[in-house]
């Protein structure tokens, strides 16, 4: 498995090995734990994670600020 830099100091969810939609469900549940304007990191290696996280952000009014599989960063907007 690819080494992941662990410098992210916010909430990080390691969903590697999980099949979609599980990683998206985890993001939806856990994003409540961070403040509006803060960042959440998702590690996910399901090939659907990239497109589905982007679609989730669009549907839920959040912003995908980083997408470089298996690492994704979401900013909570609401």
């Amino acid at each position: 498995m690819k080494e992941i830099e662990t410098s992210f100091d916010g909430l990080s969810l390691d969903c590697r090995g999980m099949k979609c939609p599980r990683p998206i469900i985890e993001v939806a549940r856990r994003i409540q734990e961070i403040g509006v304007g803060s960042l959440l990191e998702l590690l996910a290696d399901d090939p659907a994670a990239g497109p589905d996280l982007a679609a989730w952000c669009r549907m839920r009014g959040q912003t995908l600020v980083g997408s470089d599989a298996p690492r994704f960063i979401v900013r909570r907007e609401s």
């Binding site: 979609c20 939609p21 998206i24 469900i25 090939p47 659907a48």
Partner: protein
């Protein structure tokens, strides 16, 4: 066989001797792309497609040489400016576009694309596998090869259609024999072809009325789903589309579970990628459009689908989706 070729030719504005029958729509697409690439190999080996073409077209384009897949917008329409620039690029052997997308139903600007290709003297593959019989293609214009599939209009899945214009620089990309003018090898399956053409003829004679009814039913379905099920992403162009298709994705829901639950409720629907159902990869069509790829259902109406069945579907769907979401702890 003469009668069969005549029916197809009349549907697409071609001559009967330009029509051949293959073993599937996939074979027709592969032969359409590879044959033009072979015929034009002195010009180059670049093939232009859209990002949401059928997987058989994308694979044939990649195999031919260099392949550029032009981006589409959120509803699936190809960016015609980028398409134009790509077709004009030196070394382009052929370009491919769909009449309508096989998963989301969106119509492409195929007539404009064909005109453009003709001006650039680049041969064009028009993939009508999802549209033949449902969209009037008699004036579709300057394509070089056109493909169809009987399975998409109620005929046998084992019949594909390939129309090769007489003036097209197409060469058979496989060993040939005497059958079908040396354009598709092996003895044609005449009974299956006959069945395919009977189905096509039904659509050509009375399909307009059925198509209008299906268009309205899909409108009702689209509106009903958005109203009754929260967090649903309905894909494709709501207006400029084939009459009978609708694709939507429900957030937090596993597509296979949703398909199974709908099956138990008496509805046979498809999920995931319409072109490669066994694949665990997300649909390249939905991904390219920026649509949600999980929890995906593709509905294709049949000739006899009724308004009562649409109502019934809209009644069973919300509790099924809510039930799956509750099971996985999502709401």
């Amino acid at each position: 066989m003469d009668g069969a070729r005549e029916v197809v030719a009349s549907a697409v504005g071609a001559r009967p001797d330009e029509v051949i029958f293959t073993a599937s729509g996939v074979h027709a697409n592969q032969a359409a792309v590879a044959g033009l690439a072979l015929g034009r190999r002195r010009v180059g080996s670049r093939i232009v497609t859209t990002a949401i073409d059928h997987s058989s077209v994308l694979a044939a384009a990649a195999a031919a040489g260099s392949h550029e897949a032009v981006q589409v917008d959120h509803e699936g329409h190809v960016d015609l400016d980028r398409w134009t620039a790509s077709v004009r690029t030196a070394g382009t052997a052929a370009a491919c576009i769909q009449v309508a997308n096989h998963e989301v139903g969106t119509l492409q600007p195929y007539a404009e694309a064909a005109e453009l290709c003709q001006r650039q003297e680049v041969p064009m593959v028009l993939d009508a596998t999802a549209a033949l019989g449902r969209i009037d293609l008699r004036e579709a214009g300057g394509w070089s090869t056109l493909t169809g599939w009987a399975g998409a209009f109620g005929g046998p899945a084992s019949v594909g259609i390939l129309v090769i214009k007489k003036n097209a620089r197409w060469r058979a990309p496989y060993q040939i024999d005497d059958y079908q003018g040396g354009r598709w090898p092996g003895m044609p399956d005449v009974p299956a072809i006959h069945a395919a053409v009977v189905a096509l003829d039904c659509w050509l004679r009375s399909g307009r009325i059925v198509g209008e009814r299906q268009h309205d039913l899909i409108d009702q379905l689209r509106m009903g789903i958005v109203q009754r099920v929260p967090d649903v992403d309905v894909a494709g162009d709501p207006l400029r589309r084939v009459p009978h298709l609708l694709t939507f994705s429900a957030l937090y829901v596993d597509g296979e579970t949703l398909t199974l639950e709908l099956d138990k409720a008496g509805f046979a629907v498809a999920s995931g990628s319409a072109c490669s159902a066994s694949s665990e990869l997300p649909s390249h069509v939905l991904a390219a459009m920026g649509a949600l790829t999980h929890g995906n259902v593709r509905i294709g109406l049949t000739w006899t689908t009724s308004a009562a069945e649409i109502d019934q579907f809209l009644t069973v769907l919300p509790p099924i989706v809510a039930g799956i979401r509750a099971t996985v702890g999502a709401s």
